[in-house]
């Protein structure tokens, strides 16, 4: 058994999320406070002093618990700082949930933050320990690593490169289109398919518009035991599944691996579905927020998460099945692509979209009666990664999907 899960044991009763983007005027502390203040302001009958413990996720915007406690001025409470590649925000959430489920605390807060735009460089920076200088990830950038999915997928499934290009373009177009309806997104202007196709190349066939936005931002969640959720809000969000898989990076050495799937995603999804007792995810989920770091990633994820049959995701994407009005909306908030990807915040930002959708507060992008959502957050690269999957719902599992 991969995990027992904590289905139905904890609930989210408040969330906050900063604007994402090039926040030249905001420091890490400012980003944290923007999400934190929104979060506290949406909860009733709870104040900062009621929070018993904090989990802070950040990849590179601060070390130690004091990155959070100094920013919010918390009063000698435990703060755990976590990092797990691009799944860092989800990891903060996951551990805060476990602490509440275990009964260690009554109220826990998960905060994710990243301040990427102060470096002056393009893309993500690595903070590797001293090494022998041979690891390919030291030199090969993330877009290059993920660009390898494209020719491999075409070869494996007999997809013409032009068809794959069209599917990648559709993913970018769709997520930018969704982002136009999200006032907090980094990129809110519509982008034409022609602009996407003709963008300067970054790596392989990935152009600038195939890559997620490098951005500053923060997001925040307040977690309590499920049975107390209604004390704080009339519309809590229940946690049905939390799964995390860290691969051994076997695939990076395994001649059997073909770069058309993330084995870690398949396993984490299977674990999460078992926890939430989901057997037909495409039918039972209302929508999903997935890790669209690069456009071919989202295509492959549709298969790994069980939303498309193997080899068919590119067709389903082109058929509009994952558009905002499709059979299973994917990234209705614009995703990493247009909402932006402040690494430590992204996993919590995905949950924030579920929170808004369940509460009917998603504005112009509000979906019709969503009840169950999946968030998927990936860290690392093809060949070796961590994969997080959560399933959250508007109702406790006993009532859900019946």
């Amino acid at each position: 058994m991969p995990s027992n899960g904590i289905a139905g044991k904890v609930a989210v009763v408040a969330m906050g999320c900063s604007h994402f983007g090039e926040r030249w005027d905001a420091a890490t502390d400012d980003l944290i406070l923007e999400a934190y203040n929104e979060c506290l302001s949406t909860a009733t009958g709870i104040s900062a002093a009621d929070v018993d413990a904090y989990w802070l996720g950040t990849l590179s915007s601060g070390l130690g618990g004091l990155t959070l406690s100094r920013a919010i001025g918390s009063d000698d409470k435990p703060v755990t700082r976590v990092e797990n590649f691009c799944a860092t925000g989800s990891e903060a959430f996951r551990n805060a949930c476990y602490a509440v489920a275990a009964g260690a605390y009554d109220v826990a807060m998960a905060v994710g933050v990243e301040k990427l735009k102060d470096s002056g460089y393009s893309g993500l920076l690595r903070q590797d320990p001293p090494g022998d200088g041979t690891a390919p990830e030291l030199s090969m950038t993330a877009p290059a690593a993920f660009s390898m999915l494209d020719p491999a997928y075409c070869a494996r499934h007999g997809v013409h490169p032009d068809e794959m290009r069209a599917a990648m373009t559709h993913v970018a177009w769709k997520n930018h289109d969704n982002g136009t309806r999200n006032p907090k997104a980094q990129f809110r202007s519509p982008v034409t398919r022609d602009t996407i196709d003709k963008a300067p190349k970054v790596a392989g066939r990935l152009g600038v518009f195939d890559c997620s936005g490098v951005s500053d931002g923060a997001a925040c969640a307040l977690i309590v035991p499920a049975e107390k959720a209604l004390d704080y809000t009339d519309r809590p969000m229940y946690v049905e599944a939390l799964s995390l898989v860290a691969g051994s990076a076997r695939a990076s050495m395994d001649t059997g691996y073909d770069f058309t799937t993330f084995p870690e995603v398949v396993k984490s999804a299977k674990d999460a579905y078992a926890q939430a007792k989901i057997d037909h995810p495409a039918a039972q989920l209302s929508f999903a927020e997935v890790h669209d770091c690069f456009t071919p990633t989202e295509i492959v994820l549709m298969e790994d998460l069980g939303f498309s049959d193997a080899g068919n995701a590119w067709k389903d994407v082109l058929g509009g099945e994952f558009d905002a009005d499709g059979r299973l909306p994917i990234n209705p908030d614009g995703g990493l692509k247009s909402f932006g990807h402040p690494v430590g915040a992204s996993g919590l930002r995905m949950l924030y979209e579920a929170w808004l959708q369940f509460r009917g507060e998603a504005g112009d992008r509000q979906l019709s009666d969503p009840h169950t959502a999946l968030t998927h957050n990936l860290g690392g690269r093809p060949g070796g990664c961590v994969s997080f999957v959560s399933i959250v719902s508007r109702r406790l599992r006993a009532e859900a999907r019946t």
Binding site: A144, M148, M253
Partner: protein
């Protein structure tokens, strides 16, 4: 003991400056941005050392050592996977150092390898007529392809070519002065060597000299019954004499005599006689063939490789220097390109691990050297964002013949030459230099790229 040549190999890098770009009738052989004297020495010597070879010594001659205050031959030794209990030493200097390396190896056996990156100022004669490259000569007692009959040296102090050690480009006195000195030195050394060998007219004469006026008149100064040759790759500095000798060994018949003349600050001479084993032991690709192949490189790109112009880099941080302790612990991987194979299930790990990633068995691994193997491209990409001394960076996932997979940079290739299924071999290269530390590691090279 006195040893003879038992194997030889030359290495010319793939890139060529086109003659029209440098004001020359001929193109010019240039090392890639990720090559230096050490990596080219590995490329040459690896061709003639079989797996598990154990020569008594390795002598490395160069006038362009990647390191001072640190032995360069040790990286060559490590990349060749040679055993620890042997001498590996640098002989930094000119063609005289290369001759000294050959003389030392001829005394007691061993590998003499010479390599050089010759840099000339844009528009200079050195840019036009120099050449980068390497050659390795293995000396031993068994299976000799060329016996050493005699050698002798004449030494004289005068100023023809000079370069301060901290500068990349050198200078030359009025060429006719050196030409006159060398003419006399070459005649004295040849007649002394031929007398010592008891030979009147050698079949082949090989002449190496940094003075191009001397090379132009080679055939009038010395007589070879079958040939008088100089290096076809341009003046190769410390490597010149060894490269030129490889060219002669490519064409000599069995039982031919070769007079080798290295005229640098004097003149060194060696008389060789080939054996009947030569014809079966020639290098796989002749020097002439290596010289004829090549991939043109833009002059501006070349100048940036040599640090003579600075091009705008990608907006990415420069890489960290490799750290000494991890590089030392991973020496068999980083320098020897040796992974590990699980004794239980056979899964190959590149780089080596202690825990088998396939079956979980702990600490039951055999080393698997991959440097001499071939592989196949599984997928690849062109990374336009990555920091590289020469963007864009090409990377490929490689399945190694016999098991194992790794991701490597691809050297000496244009993006349009890469494709899934392409066959590759492995080449020891300098990925980048940070804080004065050269980050040596292996890259993939297209197998049909010559």
């Amino acid at each position: 003991m006195s040893a003879g040549i038992v194997g030889y190999a030359s290495y010319l890098p793939r890139y060529r400056l086109e003659g029209k770009d440098i004001g020359s009738r001929n193109d010019r052989v240039v090392a890639a941005f990720d090559e230096d004297a050490t990596t080219m020495a590995v490329a040459a010597a690896s061709q003639l050392l079989p797996a598990a070879a154990s020569p008594p010594a390795l002598y490395f001659a160069t006038s362009s050592p990647p390191y001072a205050d640190k032995t360069n031959a040790t990286a060559i030794h490590a990349a060749l996977g040679l055993p620890p209990n042997m001498l590996a030493a640098d002989m930094c200097g000119t063609g005289r150092s290369a001759f000294a390396a050959m003389a030392a190896a001829a005394q007691c056996g061993g590998v003499a390898v010479a390599a050089d990156v010759r840099i000339g100022r844009p528009g200079s004669a050195d840019e036009k007529t120099g050449g980068d490259g390497a050659a390795a000569l293995l000396f031993g007692e068994d299976n000799v392809v060329a016996d050493v009959l005699a050698s002798c040296s004449v030494t004289e102090e005068f100023l023809d070519r000079w370069r301060e050690p901290i500068t990349a480009t050198g200078q030359q006195w009025e060429e006719r002065f050196g030409g006159q000195r060398y003419t006399s030195l070459i005649r004295r050394a040849s007649s002394a060597a031929l007398d010592a060998a008891g030979i009147a007219d050698p079949d082949h004469v090989v002449l190496a000299c940094p003075n191009s006026a001397v090379l132009k008149r080679a055939a009038t100064m010395v007589k070879g019954q079958k040939s008088v040759t100089t290096s076809p790759a341009g003046f190769g500095g410390a490597a010149d004499v060894a490269i030129a000798l490889c060219g002669a060994l490519d064409i000599a018949d069995a039982h031919d005599t070769i007079l080798l003349l290295s005229a640098t600050d004097g003149c060194d001479a060696m008389v060789l006689r080939t054996t009947e084993l030569l014809t079966a032991s020639r290098q796989a690709r002749t020097l002439e063939h290596q010289r004829a192949q090549g991939l043109p490189i833009k002059h501006l790109t070349y100048l940036s490789w040599r640090g003579l112009v600075a091009l705008e880099p990608p907006r990415r941080p420069e890489p960290e220097r490799p750290a000494a302790p991890p590089a030392s612990r991973a020496g068999h991987w980083k320098f020897g390109f040796t992974g590990s194979r699980c004794q239980n299930c056979g899964f190959v790990h590149l780089p080596p691990t202690r825990m088998c990633r396939a079956c979980g068995t702990a600490d039951a691994m055999d080393p698997t050297p991959a440097a001499g193997l071939r592989g196949t491209v599984v997928t690849y990409t062109v990374d336009r964002l990555a920091f590289s001394p020469s963007p864009p960076m090409l990377q490929a996932v490689i399945d190694v013949d016999g098991g194992g997979r790794c991701t490597l940079e691809v050297a000496d290739a244009r993006p349009d030459e890469l494709n899934v299924g392409a066959r590759v071999r492995f080449s020891f290269r300098r990925l980048f230099t940070a804080d004065g530390v050269h980050n040596y590691f292996w890259k993939a090279v297209l197998d049909d790229a010559e």
